[in-house]
């Protein structure tokens, strides 16, 4: 009996799921249908179809995106066939009359060159083919022709020409936005490249000076520090790959801290708690080291008055389900939250260093806006920076692992 109950429960679950899905699918038009006059309804329908076609196009004009948006665009124009092309070939053909592909590409040479739309009669041997006329509207981004939208219909119609032109212009806007996305990505990439070359010169001078001070008194220590310095700079100047693993990043931080501790000695104490499970997590290159550098700077700033004052820094990395949680905490001078907010918003340039705002930008760029830095601070109260790193994110792969130690 109870077995029967169990089976019933299991059997009902997929039914519920299917019902839920069906309900969601059918509910949408209903809610539209309840709105206003038929004209308004038609407007909403059109806007809805247009909004559905937009997301694929935001990724640029490729075979995949063209295929996914073409169906919506054809619904929008209401023609028998619609085709999207780039400069060289047909990317997607939606509707009937697939055999016109080659002919269309031949006839497109002109419009693609001039960037002006036109309508022409199609040559067709098939008696039952409804396509007799084709309306061409070019897709332009920044005055450059990227491709064309071709709508095919049984007869010539001024309305269709006009509508195709408007739709093509709308598609062009989406493509321009895609272009904008790309340039934003390129900008961030450029910033990272700049960041790599931007190890603070002070850090280099100070490190070399510390190493020099050990050369006579403790040559062995000097040699070790020099090697740490070499390792750290090698990592920072690494050329390939935008992503690294948490293990590699922590090692770079270790080299960095070795140099800093050589300089400040007992004044700096660092505690590490690293969960071994999260060490393979991939993350943007050099996105934790600036945070540690920041903590060292702030931590020592607060204690500068009292030379004997020690600064404590703790670095923890925890396993939290599908994310890794990295917390960097210092007990130093802290910062005015308002000033910090302005620095993060890019309104004020921080006093030296690329630091927080760059790391924050990159984390948001890679993982989405939910994954920005969380900073808890007040003047004189130290600073606690929390970064959440998803264990998996599409497109994030560490470029290489550290050579076997």
């Amino acid at each position: 009996m109870s077995g029967f109950l169990a089976g019933l429960c299991v059997a009902v679950l997929p039914l519920l799921a299917a019902g839920f899905w069906l309900g969601r699918r059918t509910a949408r038009p209903e809610s539209l249908g309840g709105l206003g006059t038929p004209v308004e309804h038609a407007t909403f329908q059109t806007l809805h179809t247009a909004s559905l076609a937009a997301p694929p196009l935001r990724a640029g004009l490729t075979g995949e995106t063209a295929r996914r948006s073409a169906r919506r665009l054809r619904t929008l124009l209401g023609t028998d066939a619609l085709c999207l092309t780039d400069q060289k070939q047909v990317l997607a053909w939606e509707g009937v009359g697939d055999h016109h592909r080659a002919e269309i590409m031949e006839r497109l040479a002109g419009p693609l060159e001039t960037g002006r739309g036109e309508a022409f009669r199609l040559k067709c041997d098939a008696p039952d083919c409804p396509l007799r006329w084709a309306v061409v509207a070019p897709l332009t981004v920044d005055d450059r022709v990227h491709g064309a939208l071709v709508a095919c219909a049984p007869r010539e119609s001024a309305v269709l020409v006009r509508a195709a032109g408007e739709v093509a212009r709308w598609v062009s806007v989406q493509l321009e936005l895609a272009d904008l996305d790309q340039s934003r990505t390129r900008l961030i990439e450029a910033e990272i490249k700049a960041l790599r070359a931007q190890i603070s010169p002070h850090f280099i001078f100070n490190s070399l000076a510390v190493i020099a001070s050990f050369v006579r008194t403790d040559p062995e220590r000097a040699r070790e520090l020099l090697l740490e310095f070499a390792d750290f700079t090698r990592y920072s100047f690494r050329r390939h790959g935008d992503f690294t693993t948490l293990a590699d990043e922590l090692h770079a931080i270790d080299h960095y801290l070795a140099l800093v501790r050589a300089r400040f000695g007992e004044r700096l104490s660092v505690t590490l708690q690293i969960a071994p499970e999260v060490l393979p997590v991939a993350l943007p290159f050099l996105c934790l080291q600036p945070l540690v550098e920041n903590a060292v700077k702030h931590g020592l700033e607060g204690k500068a008055v009292n030379a004997a004052g020690k600064s404590r820094i703790s670095i923890t990395a925890q396993d939290a389900g599908a994310e890794a949680l990295v917390v960097i905490e210092d007990d130093g001078a802290g910062m005015d939250p308002d000033l910090l907010r302005r620095i993060l918003a890019g309104e004020v340039s921080p006093s030296g260093g690329i630091g927080l705002s760059n790391v924050d930008d990159r984390l948001r760029q890679v993982y989405g806006d939910d994954y920005g830095l969380v900073i808890e601070t007040a003047v004189g109260a130290g600073m606690k920076i929390t970064a959440r790193l998803p264990k998996y994110q599409p497109g994030v792969h560490s470029a290489s692992r550290r050579s076997e130690q």
């Binding site: 109870s2 089976g7 429960c9 059997a11 293990a247 501790r261 939290a320 692992r401």
Partner: protein, 570 residues
């Protein structure tokens, strides 16, 4: 069974689990120990953790019970549970790690770049996870009932509360150490008593013929029948009855029961003489983990065996809590080494349950009548050794059993909760993870209370079958076939996994009670796995235009060793 030692042992395991989880990492390290602090999890530690998470109640108690009731045929279970890792090693381990995926939905997205397939994979992860959690909770209930006589659902409730509390509070900070600890605990809890039991068996004159049919009582034994049951007798049986047999009351009377089926009333005490053969209980479903679907197995033993082999061999790679553990390996080669170590560790562990099963057939044959065959592992030390020593060993076994429930349940809860928070619940954040944890545990808990009498070994087997028919095609084709498309993957998972799921539901509902159709539904893997593969291949071939762009690059990343990949890029 004396509970005065067992209950503290169980409590100790629970407390130790919580403590190791909460404080394993609290030992702070200074930078001078950095290389210790940042050492990645080595293959051996990770393998112990995987094994600890994998060896569940079904392995710890169920296999011994199955061997006890149904004989050496059931050795296919441990073989299948182990060999699943061989398939995982050969086809999946390293490429899966190199894909960078943490969960199975992650893998689907990494390979096919499709949100739809990701969602579907997430739904199957939740389904398989729930199917697999159910027997853990019921096993815990059974164990506690045997130990203390507590109500059936209490053990499950305790496990659920402990797991949700530790997982949701973020207490499992050093989960790798916890799980590795659980493996060694489980191995010790079976190995030490087994050694003593074998010594006791030796001193008993080392009786053989454990699997000779039919099993016989080695000494006079009183059996109390708690639930009404039908005894099937192949030959006349002489037994002393105190209670109801065939509707007639007897008071300590010696009866000669003729061949045929006899109805034994609840609460009856049967006293078997030394050397009497053990009768076969004829019952549909019961609370045990082992005595299920026995009838259909007798009808089609060969088909059932193949179904079992296919499900366990191919289902292991799709178990959500196993897959996430591979992420901890630093690279593909380490993932492979880990799998080899897992094969060794699990292989060593699975040598032990059959020993208990064989000894149980010699010393506790009455369990086949009362249907508590899964309790054999728990009862044997007391029965064979007795005294304080037997109690202590019994307590050790009980602790090990609870370790099995806790580790598997927490691993599954983490995996299911992860998918629920990422793909189902609206927004992300720590609080949502807690909500996901509660949700992940509440559903199987309610189900286990509602359907108290579900055959549990089947729930595990069916979870394996669903996993084998949905995730195995996705993983194997995703890793080894360039022409897989998102619609193909979705259709394959839906048809293969969905049909296995329907078969599961039909079996649980007892839809066709007997016959070949029942065998087909009770062991779905044999037809649903090929169906899943076929659908995936055919639909993929039918939609050649939908092959994701960059498939070649993705597969290169899956298969190239990491060092080579760096050189290629540089």
């Amino acid at each position: 069974m004396n509970s005065s030692y067992a209950v503290p042992a169980v409590a100790l395991v629970v407390v130790a689990t919580v403590l190791v989880g909460a404080f394993g990492l609290r030992i702070s390290r200074t930078t001078s120990d950095f290389y210790v602090a940042s050492r990645t999890v080595g293959p051996r530690l990770n393998a112990a953790a995987i094994s600890g998470e994998y060896l569940s109640a079904a392995s710890f108690l169920g296999i011994a019970g199955l061997v006890l009731v149904q004989g050496p045929d059931m050795l296919w279970y441990p073989v299948g549970y182990t060999a699943g890792y061989l398939v995982l090693l050969l086809f999946v381990a390293a490429p899966l790690r190199r894909s960078g995926a943490y969960t199975l939905p992650d893998f689907a997205e990494a390979r096919l770049a499709s949100h739809g397939v990701r969602r579907l994979a997430g739904a199957f992860v939740v389904g398989v996870g729930w199917l697999y959690l159910l027997p853990q909770l019921q096993g815990a209930g059974l164990t506690l009932t045997v130990l203390t006589g507590a109500p059936d659902s209490l053990g499950g409730l305790i496990v659920a509360v402990v797991v949700v509390a530790t997982v949701a509070a973020g207490g499992m900070r050093s989960i790798t150490f916890v799980q590795a600890f659980q493996y060694w605990l489980k191995l010790t809890a079976l190995l030490v008593p087994a050694l003593f039991l074998i010594l006791a068996w030796q001193s008993d004159g080392a009786p053989r013929h454990a699997f000779e049919e039919p099993a016989a009582f080695r000494e006079q034994r009183v059996v109390r029948v708690d639930d009404t049951l039908d005894l099937k007798l192949d030959r006349p049986l002489t037994v002393t009855v105190n209670g109801t047999v065939d509707g007639r009351r007897h008071r300590a009377e010696r009866l000669q029961l003729p061949t045929g089926t006899h109805h034994i009333g609840a609460g009856t005490r049967l006293t078997f003489a030394k050397g009497a053969t053990v009768p076969v209980a004829d019952r549909g479903t019961n609370g045990g983990m082992s005595t299920s679907l026995a009838a259909s197995r007798e009808e089609r033993p060969l088909y059932a065996t193949y179904g079992l082999i296919l499900a366990t061999f191919l289902g292991t790679m799709g178990l959500p809590h196993v897959v996430v553990r591979f992420y901890t390996s630093p690279h593909g080669v380490a993932a492979r080494r880990t799998t080899v170590a897992v094969l060794g560790l699990i292989g060593a562990f699975y040598l032990l349950p059959p020993v208990y099963g064989a000894l149980g057939r010699l010393y506790t044959p009455e369990l086949t009548i009362t249907g508590d065959a899964d309790a054999a592992v728990l009862l044997l030390p007391d029965r064979m050794i007795g005294g304080v020593g037997g109690d202590l060993l019994g307590a050790l076994v009980a602790g090990g059993a609870f370790a099995a429930f806790l580790s598997t349940a927490s691993g599954l809860t983490m995996a299911v909760a992860g998918v629920l928070t990422q793909d189902v619940l609206p927004s992300r954040g720590v609080r949502h993870f807690r909500l996901g944890t509660v949700l992940a545990m509440v559903v199987p808990l309610v189900a286990s209370v509602l359907v108290g009498g579900l055959p549990v070994a089947d729930a595990v087997g069916l979870a394996f079958a669903v996993s084998a028919s949905s995730f195995c095609p996705l993983l194997v084709l995703g890793i080894w076939w360039t022409r897989l498309t998102p619609p193909g993957a979705a259709a394959g998972m839906l048809v293969g996994g969905g049909s296995a799921f329907v078969a599961v539901a039909a079996t649980m509902a007892g839809f066709p009670g007997t016959g070949p159709l029942h065998a087909l539904l009770a062991w779905p893997a044999l037809w649903s796995v090929p169906l899943g593969f076929l659908t995936m291949v055919l639909v993929s071939l039918a939609t050649p235009g939908r092959v994701p762009t960059g498939t070649a690059a993705i597969l290169a990343r899956f298969h190239l060793p990491e060092e080579l990949r760096a050189e290629v890029k540089a």
